[in-house]
């Protein structure tokens, strides 16, 4: 199965936790560029992120975390749904990153 390298941008607290920079690259099967596929690959590469983006018990996105790519809000898309073709193509080519964002809330 062909794998593609997808850029993922992390919020500052998760960079600190993962001991990495602003952006990481994860390897994802080309046929599985879904929200779940990306996050599974991210947590495999950085196990310390387990439970910080998705709730450990429910597997759902944590309430104050958002997913953006290509200026689209993907946060509420079903995790196994294929990403919009233009987004999948941009992620697969490396033209655009997948953004994991801490929502603007609180102080």
């Amino acid at each position: 199965m062909t794998e593609v390298a997808v850029r993922v941008v992390l919020p500052v607290h998760l960079r600190t936790l993962a001991k990495t920079g602003r952006e990481v690259v994860v390897s994802v099967p080309e046929a599985d560029i879904t929200q779940r596929g990306l996050l599974d690959a991210l947590e495999t590469a950085f196990p310390v992120l387990g439970g910080t983006i998705r709730d450990r018990q429910t597997g759902k996105r944590r309430a104050f975390v958002r997913f953006y790519a290509c200026e689209q809000d993907l946060s509420n898309e079903p995790p196994d749904a294929p990403l919009p073709p233009v987004v999948a193509a941009a992620l697969a080519s490396g033209a655009e990153p997948f953004l994991v964002v801490g929502a603007m809330a609180g102080g």
């Binding site: 919020p11 387990g50 439970g51 910080t52 983006i53 450990r56 104050f64 809330a105």
Partner: protein, 369 residues
Amino acid sequence: MTQVRVLAGTRKGAFVLTSDEKREKWSVTGPHFGGWEIYHLKGSPADPNRIYASQNTGWFGQLIQRSDDGGLTWEPVGNDFTYAGGDPGTHLWYDGTPKPWEFKRIWHLEPSKTDPDTVYAGAEDAALFRSTDGGASWTELAGLRTHPTGPSWQPGAGGLCPHTIILQEPRIYVAISAAGTLRSDDGGETWRVMNKGLLSDGIPVPDAEAGHCVHHVEAHPAKPDTLFMQKHWDVMRSDDAGENWYEISGNLPSDFGFPIGVHPHEAETLYVVPITSDSLHYPPDGALRVWRSRTGGNEWEPLTDGLPQRDCYVNVYRDAMSIDTLDDAGVYFGTTGGQVYVSADSGDSWAPIVRDLPAVLSVEVQVLP
């Protein structure tokens, strides 16, 4: 040379404060985990350089950090706090409807007295977890949550939080807001509610078996069956391992508060920080006073030397008081205003160690040889 190490958890990180046994000059490191809420951090009595920290935010959830060098460096360990047994059942929500148990955060970490790799964690919604591998993995002691009164437990304003864990293994005490105090005599497998004698006006049946908003409980090591409790209202005492409680509020200006402390060498010397009321979470008259009883309760004296006696409207949270074991015991507490105070003479006089930390959530002290 003897060293004193104070571990302060705050709204925006952890700080480590160190001094010699004089406790006059302090060095401060931190923030560790800047920007994260550190509800509690505590060192292992069996290996003081082993420290566990509860790290949480509303954004990215719960982490547990572990240090093996006294807080110089940290590594995240396990954060899988899955409730045992599949369907966790329900407790009562604020509106009186059943709500499924749901993990939110770790309020308190209690390392074993004998094994640095064993540590207990009090989880909201009320559950007790134990790790025997240094925090790498956690197993729920489900007998607590599945106690027959569990479905009737209702969160206090801060959540359904098990904030007190007292280890007298195999005996364990846990206190939960707002359920009360429970005791296990078999290492956490089975539990009994220990609330006889508590009266709480804020619940439909004031002397109910469960539902009491206990804020903190302490025991003296030399008298393990004597327990002291700061309840939502009322300061209480038990002399029979929690079987029966009686009030010792005596002449306190308010018997509402959060922390309670016991002197390490004087089993009848207690400390509380009275707060005006449940709706006014600051000290009476804008004066920050620790009150000390040398008689096991009922007779209390205000300790004011070195503490602000005007225009002070901070609070002191339930885990934000600690007492060291030096001959002249040191008493420490942290405030929501970011001050950590020390008294090196059992409370007679006080001085700030730091004045401008984020709101202090917890204070623990270690004495290092």
